[in-house]
């Protein structure tokens, strides 16, 4: 019989090193390092502090919108164990549904010093449940069949790709391939937030609205019965099923919440930037980067990831061509994967 031998020293050392390198704090350290590099680079390139502050504010705004999408991705991944590559296109769908709704409403005057009128708010209220229902309906005809057949997760991801391109083709057909705006040529009021940092009032609304939705999701998950059931499903689907949790209802609410958040996120992004049929596909990468950075399936991680990615995206534009913003998100994701694949909130070590 061979007893338990002590590990050779080199291997023990390697293990110790890798356990330090793979810890949560090293990922936090990596993010701090990125922040430090940015600060140093900005002083080296002579980017003014006000400009940097402004970009950080823009990053937080973008982070709020990304968080709405990332929450849906992470909820769906937690409850249904699938990578929903159609989620970005649910955002596109929300943005364009709003455009359609607003085109039939009589145009109103701008309200409360914002750049949009009542019809945007009406559209927001209508679009959120609509996208949720569409997401659930699409689940009924596609993903549910695959789940029932216990197909491999990649088959669901592939079906999601089909759904994504299907939605995009319909958007192309109905609205054309050009970009669009909710309000063409309407003045967009600006306020000075603090010395030298100016933002549009619309953007303050975007941030406030996304934060409100995030709080609502928090309350739903922590306080409501459905939220508790969702967390149970995410934790252990089989155990949840045998403890009598109505799986189908949880699935319904997961899609409703995820879809509604995506619809709102798409509308807010469209209000801030512009509407394009490809917008959702382009947002998919930052969304998943946020989710992976904050651990797939973890709601609070997704929020943390979304704001980090949003800030990195915006701040990077001070140094490189702004077109590479999403690429900056990608680089952060790859670095995070190298250091700690399970993300900030993941268990282990």
């Amino acid at each position: 019989m061979v007893g338990a031998r002590p590990l050779p020293r080199s291997r023990a050392l390697r293990r110790a090193v890798s356990s330090v390198l793979g810890s949560r704090w090293s990922l936090v350290g990596l993010l701090a390092l990125i922040a430090l590099v940015i600060v140093l680079a900005s002083s080296a390139q002579g980017v003014s502090g006000t400009r940097m502050l402004g970009l950080v504010v823009r990053g937080v705004l973008l982070g709020g919108v990304l968080a709405l999408g990332a929450l849906g991705v992470t909820l769906v991944h937690g409850v249904l164990k699938m990578a929903n590559f159609a989620h970005g296109d649910y955002m596109t769908l929300g943005a364009y549904l709003a455009l359609a709704i607003m085109s039939v409403l009589p145009p109103g005057r701008s309200v409360f010093g914002l750049g949009f009128g009542y019809e945007f708010l009406v559209a927001l209220v209508l679009v959120m449940p609509l996208v949720g229902l569409v997401a659930y309906g699409l689940d009924r005809v596609t993903f549910r069949r695959l789940r029932q057949r216990r197909s491999a997760p990649v088959m669901m991801a592939m079906a999601a790709l089909g759904v994504a391109f299907g939605i995009r083709s319909i958007v192309y057909m109905v609205f054309g391939a050009d970009f669009a705006f909710y309000y063409q040529g309407r003045p967009r009021p600006v306020v000075e937030l603090f010395s030298g940092v100016r933002v549009r009032t619309d953007q303050l609304f975007i941030l406030a609205f996304s934060l409100a939705l995030i709080v609502l999701v928090y309350l739903l998950l922590e306080r409501s019965k459905v939220g508790k059931a969702m967390r149970a499903m995410a934790d252990n689907p089989d155990l949840a099923r045998i403890s009598g949790i109505p799986t189908e209802r949880v699935v319904f609410w997961t899609w409703m919440v995820g879809g509604a958040l995506a619809g709102a996120g798409g509308m807010l992004y469209g209000l801030d930037v512009q509407l394009r049929p490809e917008m959702g596909w382009w947002l998919l990468l930052p969304l998943f980067a946020s989710v992976i950075l904050g651990t797939i399936g973890n709601v609070y991680g997704a929020l943390l990831g979304a704001f980090t990615i949003g800030i990195v995206w915006q701040v990077s534009t001070a140094f490189v061509n702004p077109a590479y913003g999403p690429a900056a998100a990608f680089v952060v994701m790859i670095l995070a994967l190298l250091v700690r694949p399970q993300g900030l909130m993941g268990g282990g070590r």
Binding site: M158, A159, G162, F288, P341
Partner: protein, 396 residues
């Protein structure tokens, strides 16, 4: 009789011959090749004489694009079909191959052209150098992407490949100095195009004389032979590799990673090898594409044409089956081109619904392809030609 019929049918016989070599079974090599050659020549000549020239030329260009897509699909089949690597950034390797090959074979612009075209380098190298360089650069890209992501779960790799495809798209869209930025890179040389023009000075006279009746617009007949040859080499190479112990390990990794690791296989290394081999093949496909379309820009490598279409081809044909991959590529390309007729036929109906719809007809095709993808995943996940039980080669 049109004097161009003879050289055209000889050129068309090449893909037919290669197809027959693949399809015919159970005869000695000499008999098989001779039989294939005779039948191919007879078939090509017969078709050229019987069918109207327009039809033949249409079928040729169809086969040409279908075969280029078949090369790309075979590359994806190594990654997904045999090894289970979920790469949804095919467009990245496709684009990198196409631009690499273009830059290697183009010369640096001089004089007035330099004002309109910027490129990082231009060697004016022959086609085959561009083709190999395309494969090498795409393979290196795969090495770089694969290193941090291949050891992770499938959906992480998927996201990383989406990321790399976006990054490649952004680079070719914004970096003017590299490959002329958002403007297309034009004038990519076509291999052996001298044969359809004034003749190649490095070839013996009788060859030039034989191909003399061909006009520049006959170039697809020549290129289809080249593409078919590359496709044939890739296909036979892969079939051999898949039946080798190496291919057996790839399938083991796909089916059960832990079991493969238990018997001492370095799972990460095999995944990386499959990823790189697939990417090299995609790069070669990109090169074939660039030299056919002559002018490329980043728009050609949209995730729709560059990735999604190729996935539908592989899924329809049958992942894990090289014949399926080729068949799927031709079938989906037939559906894709065929639906453009459908859209034309639907034009009055679309016009009745809304006057803007007919211009948006192409998107009807996108919807059909997306529905086809869903149909396959839901009802025919194994494709038209499902994976066969592969027995590794043994020595007789």
């Amino acid at each position: 009789m049109d004097p161009a019929v003879l050289p055209r049918s000889v050129l068309l016989a090449v893909p037919l011959y290669l197809l027959l070599v693949v399809v015919l079974r159970g005869r000695s090599a000499l008999v098989k090749h001779a039989l294939a050659a005779v039948v191919a020549l007879a078939l090509a000549a017969g078709l050229s004489l019987l069918l109207p020239a327009g039809t033949i030329s249409y079928v040729t260009t169809f086969l040409l694009m279908g075969s280029i897509y078949a090369v790309l699909t075979l590359g994806l089949n190594v990654q997904w079909g045999y090894t289970g690597l979920f790469n949804i950034g095919v467009a990245a390797f496709f684009a990198v191959g196409a631009f690499t090959s273009a830059l290697f074979t183009l010369k640096m612009p001089t004089g007035a052209a330099a004002a309109f075209t910027q490129q990082a380098f231009g060697f004016g190298a022959p086609f085959w150098v561009g083709l190999l360089a395309a494969g090498v650069v795409a393979g290196v890209l795969a090495l770089v992407v694969g290193w941090p992501t291949l050891r992770l779960r499938g959906d992480y790799l998927a996201i990383a490949t989406i990321g790399i495809a976006e990054l490649v798209r952004l680079v070719f869209q914004n970096e003017r100095w590299l490959a002329n930025g958002p403007q297309p890179l034009r004038g990519i040389p076509q291999p052996l195009s001298c044969l359809t023009g004034s003749g190649c000075d490095w070839l013996p006279g009788f060859v030039n004389a034989f191909f003399d009746p061909l006009a520049p617009r006959d170039y697809p007949y020549l290129y289809v032979a080249i593409v078919a040859l590359v496709l044939f080499l890739v296909y036979t190479g892969l079939e051999r590799a898949i039946r080798s112990p190496w291919g057996r390990v790839l399938r083991a990794v796909r089916e059960d990673e832990d079991a493969a690791a238990m018997v001492g296989k370095n799972v990460a290394a095999f995944r990386m090898q499959a990823f790189v081999v697939g990417a090299v093949i995609m790069g070669i496909g990109g090169s074939l594409y660039a030299h056919y379309v002559v002018a490329i820009d980043y728009g050609h490598f949209d995730p729709l044409y560059g990735t999604f279409l190729i996935w539908v081809m592989l899924m329809l044909g049958g992942s894990g089956n090289n014949r399926g991959a080729v068949l799927g590529a031709l079938l989906v390309w037939a559906i894709w081109t065929g639906t453009s007729f459908l859209v034309d036929a639907l034009r009055p109906t679309l016009e009745a619904i809304s006057p803007v719809l007919p211009q948006r007809g192409p998107y009807v095709r996108l919807l059909l392809i997306a529905l086809l993808m869903l149909f396959i995943v839901l009802y025919r996940p194994r494709g038209v030609l499902p994976e066969e039980k592969v027995v590794s080669l043994t020595r007789d």
